[in-house]
């Protein structure tokens, strides 16, 4: 897939033409994947994936079902480690550090790289206990008042404070689907990650709840770096800064979202976004 790779490299220079050679802080590369291959036992599902994610941007991953978007996303916080026979080859760096290097700290990685899942999965505890779970696991904010402050900050950041503040001790499972998903976002934010991975975070939600998650993503971009998998191309177009198109385990094209949706550089991308397959 040589066309994929050449196109991949182009947008890196595009946003800031003729700037100083050192990248400005706003475009600092946070995640850098180079030639990532991924296997489930002998079954290869990612082939030479290379892409970069920059600080405070939203990168959308699109592509037909089974093309490896979730697998790639889950390798960014090493959630694939749990799957027997899963194996990664190539280099994945976050803040310049190889996260698959022998002896690298998975727990510390997951603290920096939060994840929101397709199906909201709040714990069967109270709202408050959901938000503080990560604090307790990582032994953060141990003084009593601190946790209260974190709960408020996180729920506010996830747009759940107004609805949740009077029922902090109530079971999280009593919330609506959209609220549960925002609680999962709040829970991920509580430990102040640097990056937030979202795997189809709104696919199980109605249009209004989806719109709230999208708004939220745009707000979160101010403080975090987001990678969002979505099947909803309009969603990708609405919220993402750049988009990577995956096809059968390969990155076909990564480009600024506007550009990809108006002038895709590769025929396959065009076929996909115009709905000719997928």
């Amino acid at each position: 897939m040589t066309p994929g790779n050449t196109i991949l490299n182009r947008p890196l220079a595009a946003p800031k033409p003729a700037a100083a050679p050192a990248p400005a802080p706003a475009t600092r590369v946070v995640i850098e994947a180079r030639n990532v291959d991924f296997f489930y036992h002998a079954h290869q599902v990612l082939f030479g994936v290379s892409l970069e994610v920059r600080q405070n941007e939203i990168l959308a991953l699109i592509g037909p079902s089974g093309c490896g978007k979730s697998t790639f996303l889950r390798s960014l916080n090493r959630m694939n480690d749990l799957i027997a026979g899963a194996r990664l080859r190539g280099s994945l760096r976050i803040d310049g550090e190889d996260i698959y290097a022998p002896g690298s700290d998975v727990i510390a990685l997951r603290r920096r790289v939060g994840m929101v899942f397709q199906r909201s999965n709040p714990f069967p505890f109270s709202i408050e206990e959901n938000v503080t779970f990560g604090l307790r696991a990582n032994r953060l904010a141990r003084r009593p008042g601190e946790r209260v402050a974190v709960v408020e900050r996180s729920l506010r950041a996830a747009g759940l404070w107004e609805e949740g503040k009077d029922r902090l001790k109530k079971p999280a499972l009593a919330l609506s689907g959209g609220q549960q998903q925002r609680l999962c976002i709040a829970r991920a934010l509580a430990i102040e990650p640097e990056i937030l991975l979202m795997d189809e975070p709104a696919s199980a939600l109605d249009p209004i709840a989806t719109a709230r998650i999208e708004e939220l993503a745009l707000e979160l971009k101010q403080r975090y770096t987001l990678v969002i998998v979505t099947h909803n191309l309009q969603q990708a177009a609405r919220i993402s800064d750049r988009t990577s198109f995956f096809l059968m385990g390969r990155v076909i094209e990564t480009a600024p979202t506007q550009q990809m949706f108006t002038h895709p550089a590769v025929q396959e991308t065009e076929d996909y976004i115009t709905g000719r397959f997928g």
């Binding site: 997951r110 603290r111 994840m115 999965n121 696991a137």
Partner: protein, 319 residues
Amino acid sequence: MRRVYAALAALVAAILVAIVAFFAVEAWPAIGLNGWHFLTHDVWDVGRQYGNPILRDGRLVLPGAHYGILFLIVGTLLSTAIAVVLAVPIGVLAAIFLAECIPAALRTWVSFFVEMLAAIPSVVFGLWGYIFLIPFLARHVFPWMAAHLGFLPYFGGATGSGYGLLTSGLVLALMIVPLVTSTVRDALVAQPHGLRDAALALGATRFETLRTVQLPGTRRAMTGSAILATGRALGETMAVLMISGNALNYLPTNIYSPISTMASFIVSQLDGALQDPTGMAVRALAEVALVLCLISVVVNSLARGLLYWQDRISSAWPA
């Protein structure tokens, strides 16, 4: 279809009530004769076989007959308690090992052997205990325990022949471990991965995830299997008969003491009781059976209460 189910459920309930009612009727004269002493006295004596029956409280009994089963109640409850206290943690640990620590392919095989353990008839456990375990424990283990753990209450003192309370508890534990293991393992494996993944993604370790999310999710299975296991241990007859020492009219003084349990006592006494021309001994055994049923019901209800209470408390992490 609903009506068929309702009818079947009613039938099962009716059979249960009928059995208990049958024992209540059968035991009624003995209940009247023995009163509360039945539960508080620890002497069981069917009386002089060849003496002439005498009339007591309007009932014909053998001279010297006296029925008290405190020693049976104590033996039954203690051996069951030891078995459950040993089996539940061991069973849960084994379940964690099977569900989390070994590959799925191996899990099938090891699980197969665990389930086989549950399929072994109890008389085989009893014989194994009789031939192998008792001499081994009596010679090597119990003396060591008495010497080194004797400072604990009931761990010191005479270690006896190996027949007794601790041996019964150990063999019962072995018999009920598979029950706990397979139930909890199935619950762990069947759990949706969502909560586990959420915990791990928040930086919890495997162990923290198990403790705070996965195991609490199996609490119902754990308690349920403990209830079943308790029921099985309370009612276990054959194996206990072969290894308990069949103590008569004797309250255990330490964990090595010989005991009897209600279920095994009914078997061991039935033959002799049938010789009683007044029939009172058989009625007293029916009363033993009735008490055993009652204890099972009480233990079951307590366990169900526990389940209900568990469901109401959250499993918050101690900060």
